[in-house]
């Protein structure tokens, strides 16, 4: 699909929104204003952005413990996201879920997930509903390199291919599952090679090139909407921060991080757009100011929102 300038700038801005959101989360977590665990997406923005740029609101995604980027890219509201991280009643989950469980079913976001490999079977279910109803919706399952080894993920890929479900398995290979490098968790170099085990197309893309991701996911989505079944797309990328905030990354060296930071997906798209004359300094500044403003609002919304009342613990268990 040819990309309009607007769409390109939108993708550029979405990556910036993710980056800035995560940067704020990092600050507030350090400041002790965000309880629990947070797993930041900084450095991987191109994967969620390129993928969700293909999707429509009616399409589904299942996310992971590292889900903020997916949610933002799929259209999540920064205010309610930030409020949820702060544990406020105005958050997406009324403070019941937190970082690992933010969802927006209206937007097709079936939730971040605290269980590694938890999303695949659920994405199949959403895709099955689309197939059952004869709509052209697709479901994207985001999962990490570590999650690729979980039985649930592999079962999900098999069922999706056996039933030709409209699912796109988007693997975010950032090289590590917490401290465990992919080379120790699996013998294959490319997770995409596993697609053949289920007779589905499998491709490796540069996960820091948002356009490459967009392209690959676009093809997979078209295929899925045609009724030709699932695909596996492995996006090679890297997380700049620790596994969770607080992790000091003793298991990887600075040099590795540096080389990846040079592949900053935002800088790369920015330069591309500048070369093509699509992005000017003014435009860039205004984009960033808009994001900054949006975040200011999200943060003050989160800070000013009330905490849930203790008795709310008992609500929302059953429909």
């Amino acid at each position: 699909m040819a990309l309009t300038d607007d769409k390109l700038l939108q993708m550029y801005q979405t990556m910036i929104r993710i980056r800035e959101f995560e940067t704020k989360v990092q600050e507030f977590f350090a400041a002790g204003k965000i309880p629990g665990f947070v797993h930041l997406y900084i450095g991987e923005e191109a994967v969620a952005t390129g993928t969700c740029a293909v999707l429509q609101p009616k399409d589904y995604i299942t996310s992971t413990h590292r889900g903020h980027g997916h949610l933002i890219a799929k259209g999540g509201d920064l205010k309610r996201m930030m409020a949820e991280l702060f544990g406020k009643r105005t958050g997406y989950c009324k403070g019941k879920g937190g970082s690992m469980h933010i969802a927006d079913v209206e937007l097709g976001i079936l939730g971040a997930n605290g269980i590694v490999g938890g999303g695949g079977p659920i994405a199949n279910g959403a895709a099955l509903a689309a197939q059952y109803r004869g709509t052209d919706q697709v479901a994207v399952c985001f999962f990490g390199d570590g999650a690729a080894n979980q039985g649930t993920t592999q079962e999900a890929m098999n069922l999706a291919s056996a039933w030709k479900l409209p699912v796109i398995f988007v693997n975010e290979n950032n090289g590590y599952g917490i401290s465990c490098p992919t080379c120790k968790s699996m013998a294959v170099a490319d997770i995409a090679d596993r697609a053949a085990a289920y007779d589905m197309p499998g491709v490796v893309v540069d996960g820091n090139d948002v356009l490459a991701v967009y392209e690959a996911v676009g093809e997979a989505a078209a295929r899925a909407r045609r009724g030709d079944g699932p695909s596996l797309i492995e996006c090679k990328t890297y997380r700049w921060r620790g596994h969770f905030e607080g992790d000091v990354c003793t298991y990887r060296d600075e040099a590795e991080l540096q080389t990846w930071m040079e592949k900053d997906p935002i800088k790369r798209l920015g330069e591309r757009l500048r070369d093509q004359g699509i992005l000017t300094d003014d435009r860039d500044r205004s984009l960033r100011e808009a994001v900054a403003k949006e975040l200011e609002e999200a943060v003050s919304f989160a800070e000013q929102s009330p905490l849930p009342a203790p008795e709310e613990v008992l609500e929302d268990v059953y429909a």
Partner: protein
């Protein structure tokens, strides 16, 4: 009322709800043309077609996950796990995903799915095909748990389960499949959280579930011969649990025996005993007894399996013990 087996009652409930609501469909291993390992889904594939009666690979996590995702997307899947014993390969999708989504998401999701699965020993199927695991499910907030003991309840509870907007674990007892009882042809529901009193009595309350309801009724007969009048109560659903009916019965009889087929230790009978020991303590004339399986896996050989299973004699002995 027409006589039907427990199995036919379940099959009829599935057929009638599928007829009524196009969003209801079935998924599971060999549930299609084969009709299910025990024949519960026989004829449904022929009647509703491949789209609504789906054979799956052997992949329980993917089955429960597919049901969860489809339910989150608004359908009403009824999935089958061939034996409850297999839940261990797939429990995460049920207890961390389906059961908790609504709460984790702040009440913004509905997961109207049913997981049907047979429990129980008595056919020499041994340790991995004979368990009763209701206590596990009843400990999971977000799940509802039904355990029908009669054909009538099987149909009515299953229809309620399918119409429920929450994930329901529907526990069938494989030895009850052949049991006959009155089952209306028309659609009806048996509400969740309402116990059934199968026999009224004044001297002791026997709370029993699934196949043990029938064993308790046998025991009640025996006791009646000695002039002991037992009230037999079947909770029918463990979540929600009709504590009120149980407690009211104990307030009347002043004695309680709880019976189930699962192993006694940390079994659901403990929950019932504990609730009564808190809420009706002053009405009790004697100790609360539990009759349940010993703390062993289910053995294969018939004499061992019979020794494993609680029987009417055990219940009678427990009642006698209370009455000193």
């Amino acid at each position: 009322m027409p006589l039907k087996t427990y199995l036919q009652a379940i099959n009829e409930a599935l057929a009638q709800e599928m007829e009524r609501d196009p969003d209801v469909f079935i998924m599971g291993e060999d549930v299609g043309p084969f009709g299910g390992c025990f024949g519960v889904t026989k004829g449904l594939y022929e009647r509703f077609g491949e789209k609504r009666v789906k054979d799956t690979p052997i992949t329980e996590s993917a089955i429960i996950g597919a049901a969860t995702g489809a339910a989150a997307a608004g359908l009403r899947p009824v999935c089958e796990i061939m034996f409850v014993d297999f839940i261990g390969v797939a429990l995460d999708q049920l207890f961390n995903q389906a059961a908790k989504m609504r709460y984790m998401f702040g009440g913004k999701a509905k997961i109207p799915m049913v997981l049907r699965t047979p429990q129980g020993a008595g056919i020499g199927a041994a340790a991995q095909h004979s368990q009763s695991l209701e206590a596990w499910f009843a400990h999971v907030p977000g799940l509802k748990v039904a355990m029908p003991a009669t054909p009538y309840d099987a149909k009515g509870l299953l229809i309620s389960a399918i119409r429920d907007d929450n994930p329901v674990v529907f526990l069938e007892h494989k030895l009850l499949y052949g049991v006959e009882g009155d089952v209306p042809d028309e659609i009806y529901t048996v509400p969740f959280g309402r116990a059934a009193i199968h026999r009224f009595g004044d001297d002791v309350t026997i709370v029993a579930t699934a196949k043990m309801v029938h064993t308790a009724l046998e025991a009640a007969e025996i006791l009646a011969r000695d002039g002991i009048s037992a009230e037999v109560v079947d909770p029918r659903t463990l979540v929600p649990l009709d504590s009120e009916t149980i407690i009211r019965s104990v307030q009347k009889t002043h004695a309680l025996v709880v019976v189930h087929e699962a192993v006694k230790h940390a079994g659901f009978g403990a929950e019932i005993a504990a609730q009564v020991a808190e809420a009706a303590f002053d009405y009790l004339d004697g100790p609360i007894m539990r009759v349940a399986a010993p703390f062993t896996p289910v053995p294969f050989s018939p004499p061992l399996e019979q020794a494993f299973l609680p029987n009417a004699g055990d219940i009678v002995a427990a009642v006698r013990k209370i009455r000193g």
